[in-house]
Amino acid sequence: MKRQDLRHTTERNVFFWGWVLILPTMVGLIILNIYPMIKTVYQSFCKTGDFGRGNIFIGTANYAKLFSDPEVWQATLNTFKYMVVEVPFSVIIALVLAVLLNRNMVGKSVYRTIFFLPMVAAPAAIAMVWRWLFNSQFGLINNMFHISTHWISDPAIAVYSIAIIGIWSDIGYNMILFLAGLQEVPKEYYEAASIDGTNGFQKFHYITVPMISPTIFFVLVTRIIAAMQVFDLIYMIMDRSNPALSKTQSLVYLFYQYSFVQKDFGYGSTIVVLLLLLIMVITVIQVFAQKKWVHYN
């Protein structure tokens, strides 16, 4: 009897504490974020008037237009292309760097700071510098290697050039997360493995990766979401006169054009809903897949 009571109160206790602890975050999210999102979804079913007035409910007409809009599907493809290149490279390079810089080595603080720097560079400066680096006639890269690639004006490769800038910006972010995760791996595991005669790569494969798999999972999920939402880079580097724009613009870029430039919030909201659904599907797949490869204690 006593045991049942204890378990019952414990469950209620846990329920109470659980909700108390998450309450501030949930309240904040609902007011600040979920409510605006609901408004957006509603707008996607309307032909929006100016300044939020005169919204006419038109049912799924925007969605019908969306499905037959080749620009939207091209933007979806562009977004995927960006994501598929940017995420793996930035994650793998950052992981290697984190492992290298986690040991006792000369200058590790200096290196860590250098890799962090891109995170604090002003976006305007980043845009200017990379536009110079990538300039097809006068830029550093083409002049140094004597090639004439149209990095940001060739429709076939511009999106990948933007991905390169993305990788450059994000390595620092990923590296910090991996370093944090690596702190939690006890040294004893490595020492025991050394005694057993394993080499560096094996240690990496059998100890490091599984031990920080929760961190890797986190980085993958958040970076994929962020990559699907790419906007600033494209907006700063390319404009409407760029022949490569249609093969580079992302879904958020398109949404921004419709909602904020052309003031067509209805269609813009529809694009957001599409993006959201795509991200949800990818994230759900990742969440289910984590059971296969992520090791929690």
Binding site: T25, G28, L117, A121, V129, Q183
Partner: protein, 276 residues
């Protein structure tokens, strides 16, 4: 060191140096440009790498015309409070999601993930209207507003709490500590590294954010660094040397912040309390 180790070490250093240079090239360009004349900074053929004369006019103009101390203060206040809010709310929620099983947790956490998937431009106008109704534009609170809670932080802390071993927690509960006390006194200190990482990210995201601060704090006494830099870009053309000079001056507090935090990071190993 054996010869093998020394070669390994050398190769690693070479790789690191090459990568570091690619990280640094843009900053070098910014630095060089800030000393050029306008013509030199935009000239394309040939691209001017080193200024003919190292003139510091850009710096003097920028320092005279922009009140950097005020900008630093506003930006740092915004960053500080965002960090406090993010760390406190995310640790609490992260612990609950990561270690407690209770009804509704799954649904609540999926809302957290959901928020991260929404492009942030959606929030700008509704949040601006909320601040407007509260009559609080041009305040530090307005700058902090979107960051009062953090879905990203919640997710990060959840992962951090999930990997902690059960024994300390169970011991604390058996000792009669309530869940709340267990969280504050026992579990939270174990997530020092991740908390610091979260602080760094919150700081960087807040520092870079442009659209929100630009719209909500337009009064020139309540500007932040990002808005001041954006304003320097003219509609048709910009004064590039001054823009570069200002951007470099703006980075400085962030770099100092990082250097300070970085030390804490490293010391996390010694004090993380994870022992077997």
């Amino acid at each position: 060191m054996t010869k093998h180790n020394r070669i390994n070490s050398a190769i690693i250093h070479i790789i690191l140096i090459v990568l570091s240079l690619t990280m640094l090239v843009p900053f070098l360009w910014m630095f060089l440009t800030s000393f050029k004349t306008i013509a030199e900074s935009t000239q394309v053929d040939p691209f001017v790498v080193f200024p003919q004369r190292w003139n510091a006019d850009a710096y003097t103009n920028v320092l005279n015309n922009m009140n950097f101390l005020l900008l630093y203060k506003n930006t740092i206040l915004m960053i500080f409070f965002r960090i406090v809010c993010a760390v406190v709310t995310s640790s609490m929620a992260g612990y609950a999601f990561g270690r407690l099983k209770f009804r509704g947790a799954g649904f609540a956490f999926s809302l957290v993930l959901f928020q991260m998937m929404i492009p942030s431009q959606i929030f700008i106008i509704p949040q601006y209207q909320m601040i407007s109704k509260l009559r609080l534009p041009n305040t530090t609170f307005a700058l902090v507003f979107p960051g009062l809670v953090s879905a990203f932080g919640t997710f990060l802390m959840r992962q951090a709490y999930k990997v902690l071993p059960k024994d300390l927690e169970e011991a604390a509960r058996l000792d009669g500590l309530s869940i709340g006390k267990t969280f504050v006194l026992v579990m939270a200190p174990l997530t020092k590294s991740c908390t610091i990482a979260l602080s760094i990210f919150t700081a960087v995201f807040a520092y870079k954010e442009l659209m929100w601060p630009m719209i909500v704090n337009t009064d020139k006494n309540s500007l932040v660094l990002a808005s001041a830099l954006a304003k320097m870009q003219g509609q048709y053309t910009s004064h590039y040397p001054e823009l570069m000079a200002a951007s470099l001056i703006a980075c400085v507090p962030m770099i100092i912040l990082y250097l300070v935090f970085q030390k804490q990071f490293v010391e996390g190993i010694a004090t993380s309390g994870v022992k077997f």
